[in-house]
């Protein structure tokens, strides 16, 4: 009987492995000659992943010379992956940018200037809109959705309680009047519901509060643009609601960021982003949700309104022969109505005005509410808004810590506000 020696076995295994590797390489090479592979990184849950995968498959069917490699991840995991991919020079050709990283990545030259990509179709955008996309004058990222801060309420609950929420254009639509409305609702509604979740941690409404006070979240110079007084006033507004029983406690809502599934049918209202209505309303299909622009502060300066736009970028290190394919995929993301129909609008209204209009024909009631709201907001006068500077990545965690200290009565509002600003500035300073 023929017996294989160990050395022979090792040699055969090595030969087989090398042969298989060579064969695999040759097969990959031949398919690579036909197709350009574009890696596409984004964040989100399972539903978004399924929707985007379907949309990208449709793109591949329309563009048989392009192979899209999806790189989805949950939000925190996406950032961790980017953190390791960047030093390795292994970033996806197209990738979304988390809001605290926009300027961090810009400072580290991660974006390919889009002015140098002739096949990127920007014909639907007027010059003013394109200017609003620029970072320090450079068009190096492309917004793909729009949302704005909103006050959202459950119209079904309001009707049950015989309550009328003032229209945003009404002179009664102020922060003080809203607080009173929420307190009255909590005291009088027969179902024992509260006025609102404790949303001091909601970043967009917080920014709206600051801008109405003539301040900003971030300055053009890359520093925190707010004062201790404004932060303390914001915390006070929420604490007054909590103490009056009109806002949930952190215990009831499971932390500073309320869990909507947990609290959705226990509150009349919630402050947040205009896009949240799309997913949140689906969690409670028996109710009708409406949203209003943020209440107004007396003396709020002209141009206090603002929009937030999540962004997508093309990696600076992209191979030149892939640029055209990547631009086609970017076009598909930002300019194609079918793409938005497939992926849904959970991330906000389309940034392309034509697509936004076309989507009205396919929108659900909640999506229509969002689209109508965003359309009205885009028409408003807006002062410039600046992106989060490098080092600000943890600012919302710092804010959560301040809120926890206040709500657990481990710190006064002023102390927590001061510490919050000091900690945020220290992180920004360290990153310089």
């Amino acid at each position: 009987m023929y017996r294989t020696s160990r050395r022979g076995l090792i040699k055969s295994t090595a030969a087989l492995t090398l042969g298989a590797a060579a064969l695999n390489r040759s097969v990959s090479h031949s398919s690579a000659q036909e197709k350009t592979t574009i890696r596409y990184g984004w964040w989100g849950g399972a539903e978004r992943q399924a929707n985007y995968t379907r949309a990208l498959e449709a793109f591949e069917a329309q563009n048989p010379d392009i192979d899209v490699e999806p790189e989805p991840a949950e939000y925190a995991a996406f950032q961790e992956r980017m953190t390791t991919q960047i030093p390795a020079g292994n970033v996806a050709e197209l990738f979304w940018i988390a809001s605290p990283q926009v300027l961090t990545y810009a400072a580290n030259d991660l974006y390919r200037p889009l002015d140098t990509v002739p096949t990127l179709d920007l014909s639907d955008y007027d010059a003013a809109l394109l200017d609003s996309f620029r970072l320090s004058g450079n068009l190096n990222t492309m917004p793909f959705a729009i949302f704005a801060p909103v006050f959202r309420f459950n119209e079904t609950f309001a009707t049950e309680a015989g309550l009328t929420v003032p229209d945003a254009s009404s002179p009664d639509w102020t922060w003080d009047a809203l607080a009173q409305l929420l307190i009255d609702y909590s005291a009088n509604n027969p179902s024992g519901r509260r006025g609102t979740a404790y949303n001091a941690h909601a970043d967009l409404p917080f920014e709206a509060w600051l801008r109405q006070r003539g301040e900003q979240l971030w300055t053009e110079e890359g520093t925190a643009g707010f004062t201790v007084d404004s932060v303390a006033a914001w915390f006070d507004w929420w604490e007054n609601l909590r103490r009056a029983g009109a806002a949930l406690s952190l215990s009831e809502q499971d932390g500073p960021s309320a869990d909507w599934q947990l609290i959705g049918d226990t509150v009349l209202a919630n402050m947040g982003n205009s896009n949240h209505i799309v997913d949140d309303s689906r969690s409670f299909p028996d109710y009708t949700f409406r949203q209003r622009a943020m209440p107004l502060m007396p003396g709020a300066p002209e141009g206090h309104k603002y929009l937030y736009t999540p962004r997508i970028a093309m990696y600076q290190g992209i191979e030149e022969n892939k640029v055209e394919a990547a631009a086609r995929l970017m076009n598909y993301n930002v300019n194609n109505t079918e793409f938005v129909r497939t992926t849904g609008m959970s991330l906000g209204a389309p940034v392309n005005p034509r697509v936004r209009q076309e989507m009205l024909a396919f929108a659900s009631p909640a999506e229509t509410e969002m689209l109508t709201f965003v359309e009205a907001e885009t028409a408003a006068t807006r002062n410039p808004r600046f992106e989060a500077p490098p080092g600000s990545n943890t600012w919302r965690d710092v804010m959560a810590l301040a809120i926890e200290e206040i709500a657990n009565e481990q710190s006064t509002v002023m102390e927590a506000a001061q510490r919050m600003i000091d900690d945020i500035n220290a992180e920004i300073e360290r990153a310089r």
Binding site: S251, E252, D254, G255, G391, N393, L401, E404, E405
Partner: protein
């Protein structure tokens, strides 16, 4: 008279030892492990030692800054918070877990019918202890409207969410750790089986009761196993990350009450992009664990009884 010296019969060797050939084969088989060790363990270890002395934000090249990262820890309030949380966790959770594991092991060692079922059942939490499912379970148990508060409510006691209260959040993680007692329990069970039965018989003949047998026979003969479990669980407790990350959503809240040391390292590395400082923190943790382990070994000579002592 001539004498003949008989040669001592040598055992017949089946195959001549050929060191060079066998060493070569051994090296080939060791190569995957060696490569893994060098590339995945040793290199990152030494890289992190170098990075501990640098200002490194991941996105730009590291800059050597000497001992600055280590001196910075002195004035870092959250560093001290993390140390406080971790030490409290180690001091409370390890003895509780080992005590519970030993108690269950002794009970299971008493010839219980269906032992395999109980052993498997009790070991299960050790496998699930750091999963997202357990985090969800913990919220159901210790949340505002969780089972624990519902039970307390029956006695007129009203409590907020245990997970959102800075005074109780760490306790829930200690309970979670105690709950995963299966791993040390299985090791205790193996140790208990090694204790000669005739010692118990002799003790019984001399009139020793169960408690006396436990403290005078079981515990002394089990001390090497207790010591082994103590070392393993202490090191594991210092490195606790998943539970705190999952339960607190990665923040270490409420009010830093679950900001474990490893969670703080993670936050510095991946959220603040301060990889140099995170590396320094990691080396401090390694030295702390080495020191605590060394102290355990030094003290072990006073309480660990080996059969050949």
């Amino acid at each position: 008279m001539a004498t003949t010296v008989e040669k001592t019969p040598q055992p017949e060797t089946r195959q001549r030892y050929r060191p060079e050939r066998q060493d070569g084969v051994a090296h080939v088989f060791m190569t995957p492990w060696l490569l893994g060790f060098v590339l995945i363990t040793a290199l990152p270890l030494f890289a992190s030692l170098y990075l501990a002395f640098t200002d490194y934000d991941i996105l730009s090249p590291p800059e050597f800054i000497g001992f600055e990262n280590f001196t910075r820890m002195v004035d870092d309030d959250r560093f001290w918070s993390a140390i406080s949380v971790t030490l409290r966790y180690v001091v409370f959770s390890v003895p509780l877990q080992l005590g519970f594991a030993l108690l269950l092991a002794v009970l299971l060692d008493r010839g219980l019918s269906g032992l395999a079922f109980y052993r498997g059942g009790y070991y299960l939490p050790s496998l699930l202890g750091t999963s997202v499912a357990v985090a969800v379970l913990w919220r159901q148990l210790f949340g505002h409207d969780g089972l624990v508060n519902l039970a307390l409510g029956q006695f007129g006691i009203e409590m907020d969410s245990w997970l959102q209260n800075p005074d109780t959040a760490l306790s829930t993680l200690i309970i979670l750790n105690v709950w995963t007692f299966g791993s040390p329990m299985v090791i205790f069970l193996a140790g208990l089986r090694q204790i000669p039965y005739d010692l118990y018989e002799a003790a019984r003949v001399d009139g020793a009761g169960l408690l006396r047998q436990f403290f005078n026979i079981t515990i002394p003969l089990l001390t090497p196993i207790i010591f082994f479990n103590l070392i393993l669980q202490t090191i594991g407790a210092f490195q606790t990350f998943n539970q705190a990350y999952i339960i607190s959503g990665g923040t270490g809240g409420p009010v830093d009450s679950t900001l474990f040391y490893t969670l703080y390292i993670y936050r510095q590395a991946f959220l603040s992009y301060d990889m140099g400082y995170a590396s320094a923190l990691a080396w401090v943790l390694m030295l702390a664990i080495a020191l605590v382990t060394a102290i355990h070994f030094l003290l072990s000579r006073y309480w660990v009884f080996y059969g050949d002592d």
